[in-house]
């Protein structure tokens, strides 16, 4: 299920240990991202890229 969230919900999810994915291109990620966010640009988001991630853990994209 996909849930749209606002900033306060994001902050609680971060506190709860959610994985945060920045799906913007690498240059944009490097110019500033949410601390701890992992860069996974949309164009490289495939099954191989997510193989090591736990499917049951909350994951936030932006």
């Amino acid at each position: 299920m996909i849930t749209n969230i606002d900033r306060s919900e994001l902050l609680s999810l971060i506190d709860d240990g959610a994985l945060v994915l920045d799906v913007l291109p690498q240059e944009e990620y490097e110019s500033g991202h949410i601390p701890g966010a992992v860069n996974l640009p949309l164009r490289s988001l495939d099954t191989h890229a997510v193989a090591s991630m736990a499917k049951g853990k909350p994951v936030v994209v932006y």
Partner: protein, 178 residues
Amino acid sequence: MSPRAACRLEAFGFERVFDYTLGIADWRAAGLPIEGKPPTSLVVSDATRGDIPTSQLDEPIGDVLARTSAAGWEEALVLDCGDVVVGRLRGSSWEHDPGTPVSTVMELGPTTVRPNTLLEPLVERMEGRGTSLVVVSTPQGALVGVMIRTEARRLIQGEPSEQIWLDCEGCPGRWKTL
């Protein structure tokens, strides 16, 4: 971009997918810490405050005026379809009968700027036109906050944000001092 990513993750079998639709622009606007190369120039989000009062279309103008004044503001923004800015309330908007619905007295289609717009050239244009405040929204029109020209000018002149936005909820720099 993120709705597409969220959709793909769900297809890959992730059970709890969350989309922070307002993204990094909203995060910056709240003054939360950023990781990465520091920006070379100030942008609008560096001076965007998220505490301007907002209203729905069907609220009576009197209620919104009371709330706006109590918060120390002279204007408010009207939101619809979620967080999309559809109108602005200021000046003569307030002079109607208190029971009048906001939708009939608001200024339609306020000008908005994007959070990643360079700050200084915009402030110079605002100074030239005598504009005191501009609405900041995402490219989709969702409200991020407002930029007040005099505050932005102080930031450009090097004043620390904590000093410009004292005691302001949701203002740039507020979180950095926590």
